[in-house]
Amino acid sequence: MRRIINYAPRVGVRVILAALPFVAVLAIYLIASNARLAIEPNDKLMPAFATFWATLTRLATTIDKATNQYLFWWDTWLSLQRLFLGLGISALAGLVLGILVGFIPYLRATFEPFFAAFSLIPPLAVLPILFILFGLGEVSKIVLIVFGIAPFIIRDVMLRVASIPAEQIIKAQTLGANTWQMISGVVLPQVMPRLIDSVRLSLGAAWLFVIAAEAITAEGGLGYRIFLVRRYLAMDVILPYVAWITLLAFLMDWGLRRLAAAAYPWDRIKAA
């Protein structure tokens, strides 16, 4: 009998084991849903998969009278727009500010404590301020995402800049590099993989802020829809929407990982 940590599953077994929890959750839902529907055919809490499919096709393929849109796609478009704008602005701010503040000692002495304090402000607590300042439109939602994510990305980029060995920076100077060349030729390329990673880690938080903002005020969006139909206990909308959001988040994460691997092959070699 070896220690338990010394038993490792083979590749095939690993795939089966990984699929097991997913299958189990689906099976439990199916059994429970069937049991409830057998007692009360109009049960709203745990609809059958057929109901999900019917609702989803209705939302995706028929034009809604009130908004004159395909609701499912319209919601997706609105949410993704907010998410991408927020994430993009955060990533850009994180990259520029993180590199400048992390690399230039005077800027670092000035702004590092400020960013540290700034990142501790709970973004949802200042949401009312954002609504007051920017109105109830798109701007306040995007500012909320930036407010919530940019400080984290800035600090992460700063840490990465600080972790570049001093030897490399000295070496660059002995090769005649000026500050701009060190930023563009040494710091920026080494920070980029980390930036992509921290955007990946921020995806969850970004979705949180999108949905929170949409729940409070919006004309459409995945989060808006979920909170709207909650009044009617419309689990046949809510559950597919949650699954769709999860799938979108997973695809983004996967895409970013592939992007990092394709654009920065040296980073993976180092990790190996």
Partner: protein, 282 residues
């Protein structure tokens, strides 16, 4: 011609004295090796030469001029680790310096200039034995190969002084031996001054033309930070005459090789080259 003068150099951190009264005059084309126990300030001395740190008293002159207060291209460096850029290929690493010097905004050459630099870099990589790995990333190289790359990267800038901070410290004995050979040859070929820090005595006397030992001559057991280290001994490891004769030998060898190759191309005598070789050898 490169001469280095350290004029009464001190280095103090607040109340701790690391180096005191360091005086040194270094001739052109010397191979200076700094030895001494760990933590005594060998590397600090090298950092002062590199302008990574400033002396708190005294001054450092290269060719009679005070050195710049920040690292510049006239002093190349190879550290024990991390002296190459992990995000550039081997060739890209070697090409960095000239591109930075020649293209201030983009840091990149195009067209004929790039091809010219590429062939120069490839020649240098050939010289240090890395031509086959030109497209690899540093992380794919062994420790010794990375140090060869760091050397090539520094040498393409043709520095007046090459500073080596325990460059072979992390290498296995076999690799170290071949690196000794390489550094020695590069020093001869490029006619530059090398300053190397090491804690390996045999390495110091094998490579150096001059070896200085850095140590604390005075020590206060109650306050070890009161006194700093200075040059405790100064050896001329290879006499000037020996070195000059070595240089003479090297030049004669080069001459012989050109004569031999010229001869073998121009008139291919059957059984060929032996008369000329015999002639030059004596």
């Amino acid at each position: 011609m490169t001469t280095i003068i350290l004029d009464n150099v001190w280095k103090e951190y607040e109340d701790r004295v690391v180096l005191e009264r360091v005086n040194l005059a270094l001739d052109d084309h010397e191979f200076l090796v700094i030895i001494g126990p760990s933590g005594v300030g060998k590397t600090t001395l090298l950092r002062l030469l590199l302008s990574q740190e400033q002396p708190s008293r005294g001054r450092i002159l290269i060719d009679g001029e005070p050195i710049a207060s920040e690292p510049t291209a006239d002093r190349g460096v190879v550290f024990q680790r991390y002296s190459v850029f992990p995000h550039r290929t081997v060739l890209g690493n070697v090409m960095l310096g000239p591109q930075w010097a020649g293209a201030p905004i983009l840091g990149r050459f195009f067209g004929a200039r790039r091809r010219e630099l590429e062939s120069r870099a490839m020649a240098l990589l050939e010289r240090v034995g890395l031509a086959d790995s030109a497209r690899k990333y540093p992380a794919q190289l062994s420790g010794g190969m990375q140090q060869r790359l760091a050397l090539a990267q520094a040498l393409i800038m043709k520095p007046k002084v090459l500073l080596l901070d325990e460059p072979f410290g992390a290498l296995d004995p076999g690799t170290r031996k071949s690196m000794h050979q390489l550094v020695r040859e590069l020093w001869e070929e490029n006619a530059m001054t090398i300053v190397m820090v090491t804690h390996d005595l045999s390495e110091a006397f094998l490579l150096g033309t001059r070896v200085i030992a850095v140590d604390r001559p005075r020590n206060d057991p109650q306050a070890p930070e009161r006194f700093g280290a200075t040059i405790a001994s100064d050896f001329e490891a290879k006499f000037r005459s020996v070195r000059d004769s070595r240089r003479f030998e090297a030049e004669r060898e080069k001459l012989r090789l050109t004569l031999v190759s010229a001869d073998s191309t121009q008139n291919s005598l059957p059984g060929g080259i032996s008369p000329v070789r015999a002639l030059v050898k004596d």
